[in-house]
Symmetry: C2
Subunit: 209 residues, 2 copies
């Protein structure tokens, strides 16, 4: 970051969501490989670690009691129960990274993003969409993991989900992964130039601080 000799700036929270199959995971991976000042938030979960999963890297593995306590103390940016297990994003770890000037990426489903928005409206909300529904069908089919019925169910779900686009500040069409990742990087750069984030810098330039 070229402005390190000024006051250390707080990092941004960048929430990346979108319909299932839009490729948000691939785009985030590309983004993280290109831009070093970004980090992904690590979720907490009550499920057991799978072989090879590392505490604090893949997940924070905590007990159900612990998780429920944290819910009670309002310590999650968002959480959800999936079957018998809980998954959530602990606020503190995100805040700590942002305080260090790191921009935190939260790649999350639409329900989770809505929870984060109500807790942290100052975040940057980006909706990743496939270029078309025929392309989305093609991508899901190519994975080869879904039956015809499951495919149709997912397509209908994506169709409903894409209507959430208007709740996001930005929409990135994932036509080519590297283009989509570069667009998100541009959004982050632009958001750092927003005048309401730079008031203290203007004070510095004037010599008022």
């Amino acid at each position: 970051m070229e402005n390190n000799f000024y006051i250390k700036e707080k990092g941004l929270l960048i929430v990346i969501s979108g319909p299932s199959g839009a490729g948000k995971g691939t785009v985030c991976k590309e983004l993280l490989s290109k831009y070093p000042n970004l980090a992904v938030s690590v979720s907490a979960t009550t499920r057991d670690p799978r072989p090879g999963e590392v505490e604090g890297k893949n997940y924070y593995f905590i007990t159900k009691e612990n998780f429920l306590d944290m819910i009670g103390n309002d310590e999650f940016l968002e959480y959800a129960k999936v079957y018998d297990n809980y998954y959530g994003t602990p606020s503190q770890s995100v805040i700590d990274m942002m305080d260090e000037g790191i921009d935190v990426i939260l790649e999350i489903d639409i329900q989770g993003a809505a929870q984060v928005r109500s807790n942290y409206p100052e975040g940057i909300y980006i909706f990743v969409v496939p270029p078309s529904f025929s392309e989305l069908r093609k991508r899901i089919t190519e994975r080869g993991t879904e039956s015809e019925e499951q495919l149709n169910k997912r397509m209908n779900c994506a169709y409903d989900e894409i209507r959430n686009a208007k709740n996001y500040s930005y929409i990135v069409i994932n036509d080519e992964v590297h283009v989509a990742a570069d667009k998100i990087a541009s959004i982050i750069t632009a958001e750092k130039c927003r005048s309401n984030r730079l008031e203290s810098k203007i004070d510095e330039i004037i010599g008022r601080s």
Copy 2:
């Protein structure tokens, strides 16, 4: 533009302003040399062409009567009288370029930018500032064209002008010209991803259009 096979998008109006001496001209030149889909708006003036100036490239050279008629018909995005001559940005030429999908750069002083904003609030307003007042003083001194008195006058003027920063959506600190130009390019990319500009694209993806 990677999305040419969709509906042709309207270009953006990007207004670049800032205190005198911030280097907005140099930044704009760098920006235009790097990004081909940008054009600078051409001003109209009542002053005589200077040797080498080309009609329609440097300026539209028009008569005073013509200029006053255009003012009367509200045909300028902004205009000003400087000594005996008028200078202004004709709305129509800007609109024509935007309709062709070209992003139009308007590099303009703070008073002009305020006029443009009242006529076209949908524009992108970017304020270019020097990294510090000591750097600004150094830059103006290096030009060697100003007396000590003129220098102090310009510094005071810049000091007043920089207070306008809060009226702009974005602030770009011109520390290094290529970094500042890249930031403006990122702002343009990000603005094209704003969800309110992409409503019709979402309709296309869903197949509603």
